[in-house]
């Protein structure tokens, strides 16, 4: 923290970085406001807007490469001035923001393209692209803001857009429920973030990144801990981490491109972005880092175990997302050089997970929207392109060299082993075990879908491959799944690119409890073992009906009882509070007084008379309140309260 953070002013071409947010926003406005008039060409406008943003993002990226100080900011206007607090509507373009911009617009463009065909038969396609563009604009604002309030703007924006998109198929009750769940759990996280921002303001009087990071040293370690935990709560809500993970798999009720873009590649990684962006805060407190690492490790195992017991193709992928983001949290929690590793894994994951989600969409497209992997099988012969591209995603996620997952995940496992003492074994072991489990459930998914005997429902005779507009994005994303990891780690490219934001790796070769070579061999071994086991078990297919299962599998099918936990912790108290207040508001005071009156007077006639007028009961509650207020004021006067 000794070195101070200093942002240069964006000038020249980079001064127009706001265009990145403005273009999709304008396009969204056009699509949503023009209504039916834009039905014929609206989706192409949506695609074009993201394409333009991508080209622009690339231009800015190359511009930034040529600069000395790679962190440039620009203030568009002064947004709020309240007392000493000044919040600018300002943007920051730095290496971290740049890679996110490229991921969001690049992968986003491909998914938009895919959605043109996927949503072709949906009458709400124009509206869908409107929300989709709105999402991209909000997500770009989230990563481009130069202060926490801007981040919060984007944060709320993506939440809103994702809520609308999950509930897009409003005809399905499950979609509406899922939307509600996503909204509620996100609110818990958002409250954490909002309060965290207020803590920043109260402690440092600013929310600008540079001023905050330079001021971390002036806060007490308890304050940093509280602040970090609040930010972590926000991050966990958005990224589906324990204990707020339950909404993410349910969010799969939305259209598949939504799952691919929002719930796999971009929005759910906002939590990782938040922690990476706030790295000076998180690095300043070891307890805080330990909490982040624990959340990451716990969630990555949780996701793997539950994912292995699910039969819905999109839900398996969703739990796998939860688990992979667990790896990223593990990375950002480890701190130091692992920040960059987490970001690399995030980027690589963006490719292979989007690839597999779109692949799943392609399978569903050919199988009349069937999502149950027990009713697939043998599809490799019918959907060659989907099969091959999905295979690339599968090999990438389980970390077979030289595909991208190997280059991005294995270093995180290695750095987990570099912790000190027993925690190295604990977290390194968890990460290693997770790799084996990932190999198991992803192989199960792959084999059951594309190989083995056909277990289709009767109404399907000859599944067809998807049209070109869907397969081209698949092929491009598959190519990304194959090479991205290797390219990003070549000569430490991304690591050194991110150094200005995330700091230098803490000098020299770190010495873990195991040598790097041993870890590499171990992780490849355990991956092959997991994959081999799954292939052996499922090569002949599986029963199409649910089978009786032991304790572990039953628990996993029930999401390891985390839903029950949520219900007990969040839902029940909320419902109770509402009921109690409704009761108090309508009847409580009345009942209290009636009870008193009945006790005093003893006559039922009086009781009845008391119940007739509502005004009287209102007046009683005002009187009760008044008595309490006067009593409280007098208590203040007497010095009992103060």
């Amino acid at each position: 923290m000794e070195q101070t953070v200093e942002f240069a002013t964006a000038d020249g071409l980079l001064g127009s970085v706001w265009l990145l947010v403005a273009i999709p926003l304008v396009s969204a406005a056009v699509l949503l406001l023009l209504g039916k008039r834009a039905d014929r060409w609206g989706h192409w406008l949506g695609v074009a807007a993201i394409g333009a943003a991508f080209v622009l993002g690339l231009t800015y990226f190359f511009q930034l490469r040529g600069l000395e100080n790679k962190q440039v900011q620009t203030s568009l206007w002064q947004f709020i001035t309240v007392g000493d607090l000044k919040v600018d509507f300002g943007l920051l373009f730095d290496p971290l923001a740049a890679v996110f911009v490229l991921l969001i617009t690049g992968v986003g463009f491909l998914i938009h393209l895919y959605a043109v065909e996927y949503m072709a038969h949906d009458e709400g396609r124009r509206r869908f692209f409107g929300y989709f563009n709105l999402f991209v604009a909000a997500m770009l604002l989230l990563v481009l803001g130069n202060n926490y309030v801007m981040l919060y703007f984007g944060w709320e924006g993506v939440g809103l857009a994702s809520y609308l998109l999950i509930s897009f198929w409003y005809g399905r009750p499950s979609a509406a429920t899922a939307g509600k769940k996503a909204f509620l759990m996100n609110r818990v996280g958002d409250a954490g973030l909002a309060i965290g921002i207020f803590v920043l303001f109260a402690q440092l009087g600013t929310t600008q990144y540079d001023e905050v990071f330079n001021g971390v040293g002036s806060m007490t370690s308890t304050t940093v801990l509280v602040l970090g935990l609040l930010l972590l709560l926000g991050a966990a809500g958005k990224s589906g981490q324990f204990p707020l993970q339950a909404w993410l798999p349910d969010a799969m009720e939305g259209p598949t491109p939504v799952s691919a873009l929002i719930h796999a590649a971009t929005m759910v990684t906002a939590g990782v972005y938040l922690i990476a962006r706030s790295n000076p805060i998180f690095s300043a407190n070891e307890t805080l880092q330990l909490v982040v690492v624990s959340v990451g490790a716990l969630t990555l195992l949780l996701g793997c175990i539950i994912g292995a017991a699910k039969d819905d193709i999109k839900r398996v992928l969703a739990w796998s997302t939860v688990s992979q983001i667990g790896y990223m949290f593990l990375g950002v929690g480890l701190g130091g050089g692992a920040y960059a590793l987490a970001i690399i894994h995030l980027l690589a994951h963006g490719f292979f997970k989007a690839n597999m989600f779109l692949g799943a969409g392609s399978v569903m497209h050919g199988m009349k929207d069937q999502v149950d992997i027990r009713r697939f099988g043998g599809l490799s012969k019918y959907m060659k392109i989907t099969w091959l591209t999905f295979m690339m995603g599968w090999l990438a996620i389980i970390g077979i060299p030289p595909l991208s997952g190997y280059f991005s995940k294995e270093p995180i496992i290695a750095s987990a082993f570099e912790r000190e003492g027993w925690t190295a074994w604990l977290f390194g072991g968890a990460a290693l075990l997770g790799a084996g489990l990932t190999a198991f459930y992803m192989t199960r998914l792959f084999v059951l879908t594309f190989h083995g005997p056909k277990r289709w429902t009767e109404d399907i005779e000859h599944p067809h491959e998807s049209p070109k507009l869907m397969t081209i994005p698949l092929i491009l994303l598959a190519a990304g799944s194959v090479v991205a990891g290797g390219l990003m780690t070549l000569n430490d490219g991304v690591v050194s690119w991110l150094t200005p934001v995330l700091g230098e790796e803490a000098g020299g070769e770190a010495h873990g409890v195991l040598s790097h070579t041993v870890i590499t061999i171990l992780s490849i071994l355990i991956t092959v073992l997991g994959a081999g086991l799954a292939w052996f078990l499922f090569r002949t297919g599986t029963a199409t009906e649910p089978q009786p299962a032991g304790v572990v599998v039953t628990a996993a099918r029930r999401n390891l009882y985390t839903d029950a936990f949520n219900e007990a912790v969040f839902e029940k108290p909320g419902i109770f509070l509402t009921r109690a207040l409704v009761f108090l508001d309508n009847r409580g005071v009345d009942g209290l007084v009636n009870g008193l009156a009945a006790a005093v007077g003893g006559g039922s006639g009086r009781l009845r008379r008391l119940q007739t007028g509502f005004v009287r009961s209102y007046a009683t509650s005002i009187l009760t309140g008044a008595l309490l207020v006067v009593a409280a004021f007098l208590a203040v006067q007497a010095g009992w309260l103060a």
Binding site: L32, L33, G35, W77, Q78, F79, I80, T81, V82, G83, D84, L85, V87, V149, Y152, F153, E156, G157, L160, Y163, L164, F168, Y170, G171, A176, G179, F183, L184, R187, V188, D190, A191, A194, I195, F198, F201, A202, T578, L581, V582, D585, F614, V615, Y618, A619, S621, I622, T624, G625, A626, L628, V629, V630, A632, F633, L634, V636, Q637, L641, A642
Partner: protein, 517 residues
């Protein structure tokens, strides 16, 4: 007998008040002398011209900082800003009141004395032009509010409280449809309002008793005397604190803060919707204006000892408003509970005893007023053959029937929910920031948490409008006339502009945030 001295009066500074009261009197004459068919146009024109003239005077005299009329009225920054806010919001409300194309004859009953539900009543429901007495009543109420926010002694404050309350009680009873509900609302409002006024008046008496107990000083209830007495008092403070509590209760009743909020849902639901909008916007401004002045000027010396108590009430208000909004099934009741919760957020601003707190609270009042009037304007448009369709189930699928108005309403609800880039976010920021600086973190945390809860009922309405199929029962939205359109445009634009570039208005409130003593 000593010679009676006339106080000097700064007529120019009082011009907005005089204009509104004069217009009200003129309005009564119009009722008597202008032919019936012309009355509506003349009355509406008169009221609007008066409001415009008053706003002009506020702007022209925006530099005045005087205490005038023998210390009874203070014309200073907050007074002028709040008067301007009341006037602009009242102009919007007048536009809604004057609308006659949405419903034949307007939202008001023609003859309030006709027995509700009788055959005559059914006849007059069929498009006889509504009572034009509503305009003088409105102008009287506006005039009263202008005095209320300027009142510099407790008696003037009490009288102006009655001046603006009495017309409001009457206005509540004048709905064209569902007259029984409307009359019930008016009755409840009147009884409880009178009850609350009694608390206020008793508080004034106690304060008078307190000041008279100090030797060597004259007794009085003007703020200068009270302030001085609070500052140096050696006598018993029991009277002071009991009096303050009772005064606060009277004002918190008008502001719809818990536990004095009980009337709000019933009255908001029963009153004619334009009047509900007027109450939600302007009464709130007036009540909080008075609260600010009482706390900042008269009792400033009591060193904010009462902050924890009012703070508890603020949290209770937010909680009641937010949680109960979740279970509402009627859009007007939902907005009523939302208005209660907003009173809680405003109290957070009141409890920040700084220039920024004052400025933030005033900003909040203006921003909220615009949004809430726009919301009620939309409510007047969603209707079927029986008048407004306020049950939430009737709003299902509105987004498909009338996407434009559903979009406008969605935007306003998002503003209420405090989503960034709407005035709802900036105004919450403007009150929570100063509260934090004043070490009231617990209030801010409660505020953030309850606004998260409150977002849920809003979003439920949004989802209902957009993501359900319109049913048989889904009403269409009536195309608004020019007047409602104008009110809507003003409200929505203000909500947007104050969300994106709040700077100019914040500068204005900051410049105005200083009381004269």
């Amino acid at each position: 007998m000593s010679e009676l001295k006339l106080p000097s009066i700064d007529y120019a500074a009082l011009a907005p008040i005089l204009i509104m009261l004069g217009a009200a009197l003129l309005g009564v004459l119009v009722e008597a002398f202008v032919p019936r068919r012309l009355r509506n146009a003349v009355q509406l024109g008169l009221a609007l011209v008066a409001v415009l003239a008053a706003v002009t005077m506020v702007i022209l005299k925006s530099e005045s900082r005087v205490i005038t009329a023998g210390g009874a009225l203070a014309v200073d920054g907050p007074t002028l800003f709040l008067q301007g806010t009341v006037l602009v919001l009242a102009a919007m409300a007048l536009l809604l009141v004057g609308e006659r194309t949405v419903e034949r004859g307007g939202a008001f009953v023609a003859h309030a004395a006709v027995t509700a539900e009788s055959p005559e009543d059914r006849r007059q429901a069929e498009g006889v032009g509504g009572a034009t007495e509503v305009y003088p009543l409105m102008t009287f109420a506006i005039g009263g509010m202008l005095i209320f926010v300027a009142a510099n002694d407790l008696l003037t404050m009490f009288i102006s409280l009655e001046v603006f309350s009495l017309p409001l009680y009457l206005l509540c009873a004048l709905a064209r449809r569902r007259r029984l509900l409307s009359q019930e609302a008016a009755m409840k409002y009147f009884l409880l309002g009178a009850y609350a006024s009694a608390f206020f008046l008793f508080g004034v008496a106690l304060i008078y008793g307190f000041t008279s107990g100090i030797p060597g000083r004259g007794a009085g209830v003007d703020f200068a005397t009270v302030h001085a007495a609070v500052g140096e008092s050696s006598s018993s403070q029991v009277l002071l604190f009991a009096g303050m509590a009772l005064l606060a209760i009277g004002l918190l009743f008008k502001a719809a803060a818990a536990p004095f909020h009980v009337w709000t849902p019933d009255v908001y639901q029963g009153a004619p919707t334009p009047v509900t909008g007027f109450m939600a916007a302007c009464t709130k401004v007036a009540a909080f204006g008075a609260l600010l002045r009482v706390f900042h000027v008269a009792f400033a010396g009591a060193s904010w000892d009462f902050t924890p108590v009012i703070g508890v009430l603020a949290v209770l208000t937010m909680l009641v408003g937010a949680v109960l909004a979740v279970t509402q099934t009627d859009i007007k009741r939902l907005l009523a509970y939302s208005s209660i919760a907003n009173a809680g957020y405003l109290l957070v601003g009141v409890l920040a005893p700084s220039k920024e707190g004052l400025s933030g609270t005033m900003f909040y009042l203006a921003a909220y007023g615009f949004s809430v009037l726009a919301a009620f304007a939309v409510v007047t448009l969603v209707r079927d053959a029986d008048g407004e369709a306020t049950h939430l189930s009737r709003w299902a699928g509105l987004g498909r029937r009338s996407p434009f108005f559903a979009a406008i309403f969605t935007f306003i609800l998002l503003a209420f929910a405090g989503i960034p880039l709407t005035s709802g976010f900036t105004s919450k920021f403007a009150v929570f920031g100063p509260a934090l600086e004043a070490n009231q973190a617990w209030l801010v945390i409660a505020g953030v948490l309850t606004s998260m809860v409150l977002a849920f009922p809003y979003l439920r309405v949004v989802v209902m409008m957009w993501l359900s199929e319109p049913g048989e029962a889904t009403p269409t939205v009536t195309v608004p006339g020019a007047l409602t359109s104008a009110a809507l445009v003003i409200g929505v634009l203000a909500t947007l502009v104050l969300g994106v570039v709040p700077g100019p208005l914040l500068d204005l409130t900051t410049g105005a945030a200083e009381f004269v003593r």
